[in-house]
């Protein structure tokens, strides 16, 4: 059994501030799984059930990273990525796609639309997802 990777989600020493993740997922069970896990690992979590709601939430608060499903009602993950390209502030937020669509053409399309990474749900543990989220936040901060 592979060892579970630990998540070192320490806040900055001088002004401790939690990292903010926006979870964009229409399935309420998956939504809860991501939210519970990420909150336990020290993240603040914003939730949207599809791309349209995610666009609205972005206007209220900018997250450090967006965890984005693809197949959703009203506005899909790909449509959301296209929509944020028109907003110079929104498009700076790194987006990680997490989907069960795992074909090469889906991955290429996601990255062409600006996603920084593409995760396939069934290939990762929930812990791997949390580790990945923190990696992306830290990588993006260094830039």
């Amino acid at each position: 059994m592979p060892t579970k990777k630990k998540i070192d989600n320490k806040a900055e020493k001088k002004e401790p501030k939690k990292h903010v993740v926006m979870v964009v997922e229409d399935d309420r069970f998956l939504n809860k799984a991501y939210t519970d896990k990420l909150q336990r690992e020290g993240f603040d979590v914003l939730v949207a059930i599809d791309g349209e709601e995610a666009l609205q939430r972005l206007k209220e608060k900018l997250p450090d990273v967006i965890l984005l499903d693809v197949i959703m009602p009203r506005m899909s993950g790909f449509d959301f990525l296209e929509a944020i390209q028109n907003n110079p502030t929104f498009k700076k937020v790194p987006v990680v796609i997490i989907s069960n669509l795992g074909q090469e053409e889906d991955i290429i399309r996601g990255k062409q639309l600006g996603a920084v990474d593409y995760l396939v749900k069934t290939e990762l543990s929930i812990n791997d997802i949390a580790v990945k989220v923190l990696e992306i936040i830290n990588k993006h901060k260094k830039k």
Binding site: F29, A33, T122
Partner: protein, 348 residues
């Protein structure tokens, strides 16, 4: 029966019926022969003239007469490329040629295939979503993130977790098989060192091989091996599925599994085991979808029956061939012959 009545019947059936003699002379042809072949001239004396633009059809007819008839074949015939089923029935003096328009049947079959593929893709995706959440919640329970579990609770949660993972694998296999069957699989050509790939897969199986007391020995000719230019994911899946079977169906302690790679103008991959073997009565069905032989079921109730089916689909799609030798109680050897590189024709 009255001959003229028989001819009336033949003129009214949808099939084309043609009788010719040993000198290829047409003795009788109903009107549908000319209709199906778009021939206005009904004074053609010899049947090859009906197919003068389609050499492969006259070759087929010749083969059927020389070597004995088959069940027939579908050809695209004529200017309009109609899908016509052609069958030859030889007799002592004269021979029968049957033609049937199967365009509509093929069209409906293709529609059904497309609907099946869409359904499988949608169903698989919809099934994978709740399975993903079951997996995530059981992972968090197993990792005791919300409280410690006693031994029995841990055992039950582990059973749920393992079953969930098996279901996910099964659905993904069904989805892959469906895509391959419909020709929607995309292959990527890249340089592959097959021995490195085999070693990586063996490493993945290391815990299982230890638990099953198996040893895997790899040999290669030449050393070092030249690169193959094929699809890595497909090659990996082929090796995984065959090694998984070899390990799973080992009946001996200290069983040895041999993997041999030989590359010259083709790549020959051989995987041999000392396992339970495949009973002779089952050997024709081994590559069938969902098939599992009785001795395999007795030894190991788990398994989707898709492993070898997928291997054959992948090998064929890569332009290769697969065959095997097996003796019940002794073991099995699988041979996979692959081209050295993907070409436009070998891509799915």
């Amino acid at each position: 029966m009255d001959k003229s009545f028989l001819i009336k019947i033949l003129d009214h059936i949808s099939a084309g019926v043609l009788v010719f003699d040993r000198n290829s002379k047409i003795i009788y042809a109903n009107k549908n022969v000319y209709f199906l072949l778009d021939k206005k001239n009904r004074n053609i004396k010899k049947y090859p003239a009906l197919f003068k633009d389609d050499q492969k059809i006259t070759d087929f007819i010749f083969q059927e007469l020389e070597h004995g008839p088959s069940a027939g074949k579908v050809f695209k015939i004529g200017k309009n490329k109609k899908n016509l089923f052609l069958q030859i029935i030889p007799f002592a003096k004269n021979h029968l040629l049957l033609l049937e328009d199967v365009g509509e049947i093929l069209r409906v079959r293709n529609e059904i295939e497309k609907m099946k593929t869409s359904f499988v893709s949608l169903a698989s995706h919809q099934l994978l979503t709740p399975l993903s959440s079951i997996r995530y919640f059981t992972e968090m329970l197993k990792d005791e993130e919300i409280g410690t579990l006693n031994e029995f609770q841990m055992d039950y949660i582990s059973q749920i977790y393992d079953s969930t993972k098996r279901m996910i694998v099964l659905i993904k296999e069904l989805l892959s098989a469906s895509r391959l069957e419909s020709g929607k699989f995309h292959f990527n050509k890249e340089g592959i060192q097959l021995d490195d790939l085999v070693d990586a897969v063996i490493e993945e199986f290391s815990i299982v091989t230890r638990a099953n007391n198996c040893k895997i020995i790899v040999s290669k000719i030449p050393n070092p091996l030249p690169s193959l230019y094929l699809d890595r994911a497909s090659l990996r899946q082929i090796i995984v599925n065959l090694l998984d079977n070899a390990i799973k169906y080992s009946s001996k302690k200290s069983a040895i599994i041999k993997v041999n790679i030989e590359i010259n103008d083709k790549c020959l991959l051989t995987i041999s085991d000392q396992g339970i073997g495949i009973p002779r009565k089952d050997q024709k069905k081994v590559f069938d979808k969902f098939f599992r032989s009785d001795n395999a079921l007795k030894l190991n109730a788990n398994g989707s029956g898709l492993g070898l089916y997928m291997v054959k689909l992948l090998v064929n799609a890569l332009g290769g061939e697969i065959w095997f030798e097996s003796k019940e109680g002794k073991g099995t050897v699988f041979y996979i012959s692959l081209p050295l590189r993907l070409t436009e024709e070998t891509k799915a």
